[in-house]
Every structure is written in C-alpha cells, then in structure tokens.
Subunit: 347 residues, 2 copies
C-alpha cells in the first residue's frame, strides 16, 4: 500500500503486482517462479487483502481460488500467519511451512533454492524449531530490522539472540562492524504445530480466535468466519507477537542477492545498468547526456531525456513523476500533496 | 510539419492544431476566433494539406467543406496564395484578402483587430497596394525574417525598402539598433486583382497554371484540376516570388504581442507564469523546488516534478520528452534519433 513507488504503485495496484525490473513478471510472479522445483504449485497458499483477489488470480492462473485466503481487513503479519497455519493444518497436520513475502527481490535463484532446502532440512532435524533467513548485510542500512546471532549451530545456522527494529545510522554501523547482525528478510520456516503452539503461548488472543474455528477450515464456512471475526485480531506483526519471544528460533545466514525493493533507489541499485548508467526497466528510452537515472514507463511509450542526471522518471497513463533519486524519501509527501489537491483520483 | 514541438506536434497533428496555451483552443481555432467581428465565417477560406482536412473540419465546424482548399502536395506559400486568389476571384472579383498563418500567437486581440481594420482601409485608399504586417522587434531575434521600412506614409504605414532573410546575431543587433527593421509576420493584405497581376508579372509559371483553370473555379472540376496540376507549381515562398519584387508594398507597423510560437521557449516566453516561474498550459502540475519549466501534458494527467529547473517536459500518451530549455534546438535531432530506432512509430 506504500506510496514510495507512486505513480507506478497505487492503492489498487501495490508494489507486489508490478513488474519493476522489466522482466515481464511482477514481484509476486517472480516470488512464485522461484519456488518452482521446491514447492508444488498446489501447495502454495496466498494470503492477500480481498480487494486484490482478482489481480492475484489474473497474475497466477496456476493458483486455484481455494488456495487464496482473503483478508477482509488489514491486521499485519501475525493474524495472517496464524490463519495460514490453522488452514494448512486442516490440509496436512504435519506440514512444514515457508513464509515468503511477495514483494521482495532475490537475484541469485540457485543460492536461494539451496537456502530454502537447507531450512526445511533443519526443521526436519530439529523438532519445534523456527528458522528465519538472516541476510548478510553489505551496508549499514537503516531501513531494515536486524537479527543478532547467538550460539552457532553449524556453518549456516545460529541460535537467534535478539531481533532488533530499524536502527539509526550509528547503530547500523555498529551492527555491520560486529559481524553478528543480519537483515531480517521476513522469510520464516516452521512446522504447523510449532507455530500454532507458539501462538497459543505468546499470542493467545489470536490463537483463541483461530482455535474456535477448527470445525470450519476447508469448508465454505471458513471464509464466512474470517469475514466476521478477522477484524477482532490485534494488529500486530509476527516478529513482535512470536519471533521475539519464542525460544527455539534459529537464523539461517543467507546471501542470495536479497532486497525488499523498498524504494526506486533500491530498484536502481539492484537492476542492470545501461552503458550510460541508466536503469530503464522494460522501457523504451533515448537518453542524451543523461546518466544514472531510473526511467520507467509502461507499454511501448518512448521516453526521450536530455541533460538529466540522477533522477527518477516514473510514467503511467494518468500520472508522471520526475524527482531526483536523492529526494526519493519525499515522494510520499508529494503523494499526500496530490491527495490534498485531487482526492483519491491519482492514489 | 516541424519536429520542434515533438512529441506534442506530430506529422499527423502539426503545431497549428494543438492547444499550446491550455486555453482549450488550438492555434488554428484561435486564429479564426480573433477574426470574429472582422471577417464573417463564410468569407474564410482555409488552405491546408489534404491529410489535415478532417482535423480542420473537426476543429472548425463553422467552416463548410467548400471553404477548405486541399493541397495535394506541399508547394510552399506562393502557389497556395495563388490558388486562394484565383478561387476567391471567382466568388468576388473585388475581394480584399487578408492572409493569416494559422500557427501564430497573438496576445493583444484588440490591437490586432485595429491593425487589421487599418490595413483594409489602407487597401481601399491605395489602389493596387499590398500591405504586410511588420512587428516591432523587442530583441535581436535570429529566427525571423525582417522588413526594412522606407518612406513613411503616416504614423502606421511605410513603404517597404527591403525584405531580409533570417539574420545572424550581429546583423540582428544592427537591425534592432537602427529602428528601421520589423519582423516579417507572414500576414499580408491585398486585393484579388493586385495579387493576381503581381503573380502574372513576377511568377508567371504559377499564374499561367491558375489562369488555365479559370473555367473550373467554384465547380467540382476545381479540386480535380488542382489534384492533377498543383504538383507542377514551383516550390517557392510568397515573399520570394512576389513580395520582394512588387513595387507597391507597404509595411504596417504593428505591436499586438505576436509570436510565431516556433519553439517551446517561445511558448514559455509568451505564456503566463505560475508563481514559481513554471508554465503549465492546461496541465495539472505539482511542482516542488522546481522553477522556470514548461510542463505540458494532455487531459487530466498529473505531472509531479521535484528539483527540476529550466526544463521542457512534454508528455503525450505514447511519448515523453524531458530536455533543458536551453537545448531545445536539439529536439529535432532527438526526433531523428527516434526515427532511426523506431521508424515512423513516434513521428
């Protein structure tokens, strides 16, 4: 729902549905694509807000409607992970679950697959464990949460010592220097019973609700129940509700070219550059004396730029944004300004 | 047909058909609008290339099809003025003609009307005279032709001494300093017989052709004759063919806020500025730390710019141009480059 990619992302078409890299596949589609060979399509469960139901079905025709769980309201990541767990338990009480955000970028697919396989193997060997991917940081990023590793289990896995919210610049530098801190990627692995029991212990307000619906999972009453009661869930993240409190949480240290692709700047950083240093994802661009821009337009629109350096140019049929890359944090203010002047028209 | 306003102007939609000022009226419509009260609509004859016939009829529903003379090929301004004269003679052998280019800007309509009325009155009083509007120059413009005035007739009119092509900067400065030189606006006034006789004397290759068709004017055979023979006309301007040679040419010195609106820069110079110095003709713009730009988009497209100074931003559904105002002379090169890469698609 963020406005950081406006006008490319909109309320009705948020980031995960957009093809930022010009590959012809949205971030959501890429997320499903890279699970090929690891998770059979019929074992994928999508959780999304009900307003995005048709976009998901359109972008992922291989996912059947009964694999899509529709949240009637937003309640952050703890309630939706709870729903997923209880729902999956009704399909397979021994299931192991991977939680994969749909709006992240992963560049090295083979390394990613190896990491995923390793995490599932770890769950098999270590009963009741929870695994979270910790991405090796390469810069003192203040936009991510961090995981501090404790006791090493082996080359790849360590016990988690602490979860830390987004740090300030100084602290992020300390994190980077110690070598003990990893970016929290928001990707988790757990067994159905492990997460359900953890919820019962650390988030009973949520588990009570989902336990009450045990007779409904897998029936038409499931969605009815959710539509009526999901709103009663506390609005709380899975990190805060469970991960920070559960005892058997392990971090798998991974390095597969991950980005949460949170800004145009990260699209720029993570995309191949033209000879002139411009990033033009899937866009017809003629650039003259113009360098280090990210220029994105839809379809076969031609963008001609001259004497433009270090800008974001993002064009859609009804809105065009031109802003220096260094000012990208102001985009949300501009979107607010647009709302002030024109209401919801361009949101 | 120029590419200087690309992507706003196109081969299929040249400058005169475009609403550059965001008034809701194209330059062509504004040209007809400002003749209101001087020339009855039924006395207006349009000359245009046949490919623009439908655009003219769409933009000017008050002009009947038989008032539109369609050139099958481009032959510059002498042949089309000849056709107009012979055609009008068949309607009214005593007609006085005003020639008004359709793609110029005039800001002060009342002053313009007074000047037009004065020119027609001059024709009535001075048989066989030709009047041309000379615009008082306010800068050493190298993009216009100049008219040097000779003997003064009265406060407003002088005999023309010379017509001069576009000067270099040095000469343009001299022109400005002497106070004897006026911009050639391309607007002319003459009686039907005056121009026809001048053609017969100075451009017999053209007059012979049109004299041969005397039995056709006002009949369905007129357009047939033109379609077959217009191509035989020499490709020559009215200035070169007649004005520079005819003896009784007078300049009326005018000052009504004229521009041939030849570049985005002249659109900028001639348009009202926002508080921040931006010109945004009919366009929804939110400008942050952005000054002295001309920003044009179609319909209700929203353009958000930040940290942009002195640029042209011209957006259309299939092409977007961003170029510093100071580099506007390069636009035609960019259009050529687009042609090299993509053929006629964006022309």
């Amino acid at each position: 729902m963020g406005s950081r990619f406006w006008p490319y992302s909109r309320q009705a078409m948020p980031k995960q549905f957009i093809d930022f890299l010009g590959t012809g596949r949205s971030l959501l589609q890429l997320t499903v694509d890279r699970l090929e060979g690891i998770v059979p399509p019929e074992n994928i469960i999508m959780l999304t807000n009900e307003q995005y139901s048709s976009i998901v079905q359109e972008q992922l025709p291989q996912i059947k409607p009964d694999q899509i769980l529709l949240e009637p309201v937003r309640r952050n990541t703890a309630p939706c992970n709870a729903w997923a767990a209880w729902h999956i338990k009704s399909l397979n009480p021994d299931a192991k679950i991977m939680v994969a955000p749909s709006d992240h970028l992963i560049l090295k697919h083979e390394d990613f697959k190896a990491s995923v396989v390793r995490a599932f193997e770890f769950l098999e060997k270590n009963e009741n464990s929870i695994v979270t991917f910790g991405v090796k940081p390469n810069r003192p990023e203040t936009g991510y949460g961090y995981i501090q590793e404790g006791t090493h289990v082996d080359e790849f896995f360590s016990k988690v010592k602490t979860f830390t919210e987004k740090p300030d610049k100084e602290l992020a530098n300390v994190f980077l220097e110690t070598g003990e801190f990893y970016w929290n990627s928001g990707m988790f692995f757990w067994g159905v019973d492990t997460i359900i029991n953890a919820m019962r212990e650390y988030a009973p307000e949520i588990s009570d609700l989902f336990d009450h619906a045990n007779m409904f999972y897998g029936t038409p009453q499931e969605q009815e129940f959710i539509n009526e009661h999901y709103i009663e869930c506390p609005n709380i993240s899975i990190d805060y509700a469970v991960m920070e409190k559960a005892p058997c949480v392990f971090v798998e240290k991974v390095d597969f070219g991950w980005s949460d692709l949170g800004t145009w700047g990260s699209v720029y950083d993570n995309s191949p550059k033209n000879r002139d240093g411009n990033v033009t994802p899937g866009t017809r661009v003629l650039a003259f004396e113009s360098n280090n821009n990210v220029i994105a337009a839809r379809g076969d629109k031609l963008v001609v730029v001259s004497g433009l350096n270090g800008y974001i140019v993002a064009d859609t049929p009804d809105a065009l944004l031109i802003v220096p890359k260094n000012d990208e944090q102001k985009i949300k203010n501009y979107v607010n300004e647009a709302k002030t002047h024109f209401g919801d028209k361009y949101l």
